[in-house]
């Protein structure tokens, strides 16, 4: 026996030594994993995009601006008969008492404040502080538009432990790990309790994991349920507790824990959960809300307050009962919170409606904000998008295209990749802010943005540039006035590729026509002649000055829009006209703020005068004529009234249908067609104009604000035929 032992001593010793080495290596490797994850960048935080803020003011049409919807999306809760706390409001017939939450931002930050709104019909008649002091204008916090996710599609907003309400930590400890402050990562009493409960139930009903083990499981390990993984989890939990302080572990847990699903994305951490479920910062959570978040940790989807409100309420009350029993809350708070109904924020608008905008914004950000930065760094990007207009644009395009297919069965295609397409972009002409952008029918099917990335023949929407080039010059130098006449007689131009002989849409010639009529009826021949008269290089120069950046072939047919341009460029060029000849720089965002609240990037308002104000006004007047008497006159039938100007466009073989138009405060370009060259068989007035009108009616309420005013010194006169002769205005051809 002794001999055997002596004989085995060496192999046993070697085995023990090898096991020791293996264990040591294993522990070192686990420890390195723990340290690397904890001390490197711990979390991937997707950057979020926020809309332009809504502004409250006396006179606001609260119904059209969807004040109730905005408050719901921001997570404001309606209360009755109590003084509203921050994030709450009382809507009492003709009076709204609103307690705004504080909003953190380096320049837009607002303290929490109380407001009162008096309502009469759909208008806000007074906006005051609670002591009756009138307030002129109060911005609300911006609304979330969307997030830039990584491939794991995790939504997360980081929260610091010191910023979280103590009630949230208490609620989580009460239900998930009440001995967290004292154990060393593993809680034998909890494990024993869970074992007994599971034996009694005949299956797994209760977990024995501590918060630290849950963190380790989510942080480092694959979601498999094996004994070896359990062992690894326990050892890593001990290592984590050995290396780090309890507050650091707790903070990591609160930012890592999975708290439900929003479409295809996973919600992680209390910061993001507070936004999702209550539309507020985690710091502003109330006791009942803290209890609800703690309640859903165990099984966020099975206990979802949206899908299973009864189950969620029952478990929330269990958390409150535990908190009370463990002495974490006093009896009155417990009773009050238990009596509260389950109130969660309205689900935020479907980001699908803004996905083309989000993609365009990503492209406009400077290169150093690559997708790696956007999905990891938790930036806040303050976008120019007006969420109400964006939703209206998405609806107008979607319904408009469906309507066209319904009325014209020949343009319907079953294959989603070959379907009729369209796009809509809306800008504020004075500031160049992109207010709404829908680059196609369905971002899920095609991410190609037809407003920005596509180059399509411009057709007749290009014609105003010819008239502007002619208006810039004196009649004696080949220019025109609005009282001039043009010839719409047959024209032949010799070009290197042969004779070019333009024809009109109706295949007729109209002889001598006034300038206004030539544009209002979109006459090709008269416009081509004017292009020749003023010089194609001048036409191209005007187009470039107004904002067209695509290459422009300086050929005679350029006058009729023989150039491939993007709808965004077209919108910008028309914005320059709408803005009195001042070209704005197009912007999709104005600020990028990092996770620490520092402004990293700022795009300021920028503009440049590129056209004489008088010429811009005359061009606007011509385009008003198109709406009043010309190819755009059907707009009135859509219930739009006020200052409107625009131009239809239809290209060869009716492949592209355009409408680009503006009010004094909004420029909108709509393009309709197929991605592959195919005839649409519809004009701009038939295909694009209805979508434009539908959107502008929704945006303006039907009555357009403002008017097109002439510059100082410009007068409008009625001129008869004899006056023209006397004034020598009949020239021009």
């Amino acid at each position: 026996m002794l001999a055997l032992l002596r004989w085995l001593r060496l192999p046993l010793g070697l085995g023990a030594f090898a096991l020791g080495v293996f264990l040591a290596v294993w522990l070192i490797r686990l420890d390195r994993t723990v340290v690397a994850r904890f001390e490197g960048r711990t979390f991937k935080v997707p950057s979020r995009v926020l809309s332009a803020p809504s502004i409250l003011y006396p006179g606001l049409d609260w119904q059209r601006s969807d004040l109730r919807g905005t408050l719901a999306r921001l997570g404001y809760r309606q209360v009755q008969g109590v003084v509203p706390a921050p994030g709450q409001y009382e809507w009492d017939g003709r009076r709204v008492r609103l307690h705004l939450r504080a909003f953190d931002h380096p320049t837009r930050g607002e303290p929490a404040r109380k407001l009162e709104l008096r309502l009469d019909g759909s208008r806000v008649t007074a906006l005051t502080s609670p002591d009756g002091r009138p307030l002129g204008a109060v911005p609300l916090e911006p609304e979330p538009v969307g997030l830039y996710y990584g491939p794991d599609r995790e939504q997360r907003e980081l929260a610091r432990l010191e910023d979280l309400p103590p009630a949230l930590v208490d609620a989580i400890l009460a239900i998930e790990d009440q001995r967290f402050p004292t154990h060393s990562g593993v809680d034998p009493r909890r494990i024993a309790g869970a074992l007994l409960a599971n034996l009694e139930a005949g299956g797994i009903t209760q977990g024995g994991s501590t918060l630290t083990q849950q963190l380790v499981k989510n942080f480092f390990l694959a979601p498999e349920r094996t004994l070896s993984r359990k062992l690894q989890e326990a050892v890593m939990a001990l290592l984590v507790e050995w290396r780090y302080e309890k507050p650091a572990i707790l903070e990591a847990y609160l930012n890592e824990i999975y708290l439900g699903q929003r479409g295809a994305t996973a919600v992680h951490g209390m910061g993001q959960a507070a936004r999702l479920y209550f539309g507020k910062r985690a710091a502003d959570l109330e006791l009942a809300e803290c209890a609800l978040l703690a309640a859903i940790i165990q099984s966020p989807n099975a206990n979802s307050p949206y899908r299973h409100p009864d189950r969620a309420l029952e478990r929330r009350n269990l958390v409150l009962d535990l908190m009370h029993r463990q002495g974490r809350i006093d009896p009155s708070s417990w009773r009050r919170a238990r009596a509260e109904p389950l109130l969660v924020a309205e689900v935020t608008p479907d980001p699908r409606d803004a996905r083309y905008f989000l993609a365009a914004l990503e492209r406009q950000l400077p290169e150093h904000y690559g997708s790696g930065v956007l999905v990891n760094e938790g930036l806040s990007i303050h976008a120019t998008i007006d969420l109400r207009l964006q939703i209206a644009a998405a609806v107008a395009l979607r319904e408009g295209l469906a309507d066209l297919e319904k009325r014209h069965a020949r343009i319907r295609r079953e294959d989603p990749l070959r379907q009729l397409q369209g796009c809509l972009v809306a800008l504020r002409p004075q500031t160049g802010e992109v207010l709404a952008l829908v680059g196609g029918r369905d971002f899920g099917v095609s991410q190609f943005d037809r407003c920005i990335q596509a180059r399509r023949p411009a057709g007749s929407v290009f014609k105003p540039f010819v008239y502007i080039a002619a208006l810039e010059r004196a009649p004696a130098g080949g220019g025109i006035t609005l009282a001039s006449f043009l010839s719409d007689d047959p024209l032949e131009v010799r070009t290197p590729s042969g004779i070019w002989a333009p024809a009109n849409y109706d295949r007729q010639f109209h002889g001598r026509v006034p300038v206004r009529e030539a544009l209002e009826r979109s006459l090709n021949v008269a416009t081509a002649r004017l292009g020749q008269q003023v010089g194609i290089e001048r036409v191209a120069d005007v187009a470039r000055r107004l904002g067209i950046e695509s290459a422009l072939p300086e050929v005679p047919s350029l006058a009729l829009g023989a150039a491939d341009v993007s709808p965004l460029e077209m919108a910008r060029a028309y914005a320059t006209v709408a803005n009195g000849g001042v070209r704005p720089v197009v912007r999709t965002f104005d600020e990028v703020v990092d996770a620490e609240g520092r402004v990293l990037e700022r795009r300021e308002l920028s503009f440049e005068r590129v056209l004489d104000e008088g010429t811009a006004y005359l061009a606007t007047s011509l385009l008003q004529g198109v709406i009043e008497r010309g190819t755009g006159r059907s707009i009135v039938s859509y219930g739009l009234h006020g200052a409107l100007a625009g131009k239809t466009g239809t290209t060869d073989d009716e492949r592209d249908a355009w409408f680009v138009g503006f009010t004094p405060e909004l420029v909108v370009a709509v393009w309709i067609g197929f991605d592959e060259p195919q005839s649409l068989g519809l004009s701009g007035a038939a295909a694009a104009l209805p979508i434009w009108a539908r959107f502008v009616r929704e945006a303006t309420g039907g009555n357009v604000r403002g008017e097109f005013l002439p510059p100082q010194g410009m007068e409008s006169l009625e001129i008869g035929a004899w006056d023209r002769v006397r004034a020598g205005l009949s020239g021009g051809f």
């Binding site: 003011y57 320049t107 204008a137």
Partner: protein
């Protein structure tokens, strides 16, 4: 003293008063009337429709932020004011002043051009606002080193509103 003599003295005083006022204005060091020929935002605050008035309030908040040297917040307020009323000339006037504070004279000139255009189009241009347009243009040109063009403009602004333009600049509180 006969009533006839009193009447003559009164008449003389009446005749001399305007001349005296003019003399005071033309002598340096003699303070002229406060804000005699310079507009303030307060005067126009309640003009226009609901959106214009609300926009003016945001301009005022921007000027207040400028007064407290919070340039970021001021710019933010001016942009919000344009969001509500993109054709509000007072935003551009305040912006031009703000841009000069930030040593951006070219931007300030562009903002002044916008302001003038919008005021002229609506027939709202007045000698009182002209003072600031002239003075700010002078300041911008001076900042660009175009002193020969700047000097007469600044002198004119000073002549029109010495209490505001004596130091050759327009402070945020002076525009409020």
């Amino acid at each position: 003293m006969s009533s006839c003599l009193i009447d003559r003295i009164a008449l003389l005083l009446l005749l001399l008063a305007p001349a005296g006022m003019l003399a005071c204005r033309s002598f340096p060091g003699v303070p002229g009337p406060t804000r005699d020929e310079a507009v303030t935002l307060e005067e126009v605050m309640d003009r226009g429709d609901d959106q214009r008035r609300a926009s003016n309030h945001l301009v005022d908040q921007g000027l207040e932020a400028d007064q407290l040297a919070d340039a970021g917040r001021a710019l933010d307020r001016y942009e919000l004011a344009l969001q509500l009323d993109p054709g509000n000339p007072w935003v551009y006037l305040a912006l031009a002043r703000h841009e000069l504070d930030r040593h951006e004279p070219r931007r300030a000139l562009a903002s002044l051009d916008r302001c003038r255009t919008l005021l002229e189009r609506r027939g709202e241009i007045s000698p009182r606002v002209e003072t600031h347009l002239i003075g700010l243009r002078g300041s911008a040109l001076a900042a660009l080193g175009r002193d020969a063009e700047a000097r007469p403009l600044l002198a004119e602004a000073r002549r029109r509103a010495p209490s505001v333009w004596d130091d050759g600049r327009l402070a945020a509180e002076e525009l409020r």
